[in-house]
Symmetry: none
Subunit: 214 residues, 4 copies
């Protein structure tokens, strides 16, 4: 524990720097989008010099990629939590609730995530790939969930349903983030959940007849 304190501290310092820079980048990307965000603006927001920024990232794209990676990881954790919580025997509204809650919370905490996911057009190659990867990963999760809920669906259809469900969630998250915090936002969250429930409900294999879900 007391071995090599310098390197560790150095590393720790580096990590702090990187976190600080990524936070600044998130903030600037949210405000202006990726294309219009200048590295100088990010450095300024992080209160470091442009040179320092380039000590930790080889270029602007790498910032976005790393930010995406980290957000994705956090998102996965949130999702993981979500899917852990997701007892498949729960009635659908509760299931949706359990899955969506951490996802919504995460996106409210990290609006940059959605910001980075949108505007898929105006980004250079590697980021677009990143998007693709993130999207694909989320899609796979949803796909898995749907497979569990509706085992009868064939793969092609399931994928379409998953994509649509994910689309609804993204659209709903946009609305949630746009709504002012408070009643308005809560109402929007409820609306999103309702939409998702209604969309998925007819897919469910009838589970227990006579027990109306809601």
């Amino acid at each position: 524990m007391s071995e090599e304190p310098a390197p560790r501290r150095r590393q720790a310092r580096g990590e702090r720097r990187i976190a600080q820079l990524l936070q600044a980048a998130a903030s600037v990307f949210c405000r202006t989008g990726y294309a219009a965000a200048s590295t100088n603006a990010i450095a300024r927001e992080a209160k470091v010099s442009p040179g320092t920024l380039y000590q930790y990232f080889p270029n602007k794209e790498a910032i976005a990629v790393e930010l995406g990676d980290r957000l994705l990881q956090e998102m996965r954790d949130a999702e993981g939590l979500a899917f852990e919580r997701a007892d498949l025997d729960l009635p659908l509204p509760e299931l949706v609730d359990a899955v969506l809650e951490p996802v919504i919370a995460f996106n409210c905490r990290n609006p940059a995530f959605l910001a980075l996911m949108h505007g898929s057009g105006d980004v250079p190659g590697r980021i677009a790939e990143e998007h693709e990867a993130v999207h694909e990963s989320m899609l796979a999760r949803v796909d898995g969930l749907i497979e569990a809920l509706a085992p009868g669906l064939d793969a092609g259809e399931r994928r379409r349903v998953a994509a649509m469900a994910l689309g609804i969630v993204k659209a709903g998250l946009d609305l949630v983030l746009a709504a002012p915090e408070g009643q308005e936002r809560d109402g929007t969250v409820a609306e999103l959940k309702r939409a998702l429930v209604r969309y998925l409900d007819p897919l469910l294999a009838p589970r227990e007849l006579g027990a109306p879900r809601r």
Copy 2:
């Protein structure tokens, strides 16, 4: 009839140029987004010189605004058609079908429309306003439709529902445009309609079979 042939022909040429430039702009915006699209790239795509572009548009923003205006007009026409077709007495699936069909067709013909609507963060003032206005106008239409379908909803709730429905449509359109034309796309279109029907159905005033709804 034989009077002033030159001006007329000239005007026609000008219109053709403008159309050609806007088409090129649409294409470039789709590929790279507004912020990253360079006027030189647009001119190149239109196979004219930068100077020619600036003979018809005072600056880059004006191109996007004009393109947005034209697309919006076409979109409104499509919507108009859509809402004309929309017989409120139709069963919901048919109603959704009637409303969505022209909108989908329009967006397939003009993918730039969705491209311009996305990425609202990284655009300068006037275009953002455009976005806002276009979005608001579409929202108002949907709101009106929902008011007709579900007269019981209070205004606040209706607006939320309209926003959610519009969100679903946009998300669905993204999927539709991303799908390769053919079966895949048709299936996605069907999925979008299904999602919308399921979302809206519970809002409808319960209707007696065979009896006119309202």
Copy 3:
């Protein structure tokens, strides 16, 4: 007189065009200076198309050169008139009056002349040469006049005096042109004459003792 009417008329038309263009150029140069004057602006001012302008002048510089030439010729005529009128036996005030009057009148009619003469820095080569030539020619005239008035001066000194006198006249003309027409301008004209008289008076060989020159 009735021979080759077409060519002549054509030539006449050409001359009119050229005059019209030069007038427009004079006006634009006065307003914005040579460097900032665009050929399109000149063509617009002349109510012709840019193409027409280039039918008569190979480039922008040629316009300024031709304008300078013509103004110079007119100026020479005015000067000629001036120097013809200049009876060397006249008392100095009357002499200055006789010489300056047509020059002032010319410059009031053609403010572009002074405009072209100034700003000797911001013009490309040929025009600068033009300036030089015009200036030199005017200088020579003044030099001649001074030689007649003050035969005792050696060439070097005479040239300096001529340059200074010309400078005073130019400076005075600027003031005259800047003054609103009317009393103000008349007063400024008088002041210019006074300045010139006072400058030259001591150089004169005493002509008739006892006849005080005012």
Copy 4:
């Protein structure tokens, strides 16, 4: 004394850069005038990249304005010196000498000053205002001097005389700057002084020899 050496050195470097850029600008403006001077040319003359130029000046106009301001300040100092030296009891030739000497010296050191003052037509707004202000301020000084020398003149006449005197000085300075340094220039300087003395002498209140003028 050893505190904050970096900021100080940095500031010093910045100041040096600005001076270097302004010097380059002065040189280019002298050669080509404001309108035809390109920022790239200025940067090249200063042996820096265009980007560096824009680190210190927001745009081309700002360069001219700052240069004008600095020259003006120096000019005012020179003038101040001039007017301090100006003992009104001195005979006119000595008075003119005292006033003109620093002004001439300044303009010989800073030929850009006159270059910027000329060509007032082809410059955009703020610089033209600068010109106006500078001119007005010089005029006011001369006006004051003349008021002291010739208290009898009414304000309108005095202003005309001041403008004419200033015009003579400017014209003379042009000649001085155009003359090769050495005898030629000295002679031209002398001629300018002579011209000014002759112009102003008749305005002076007749003074009794040996008696203080005023």
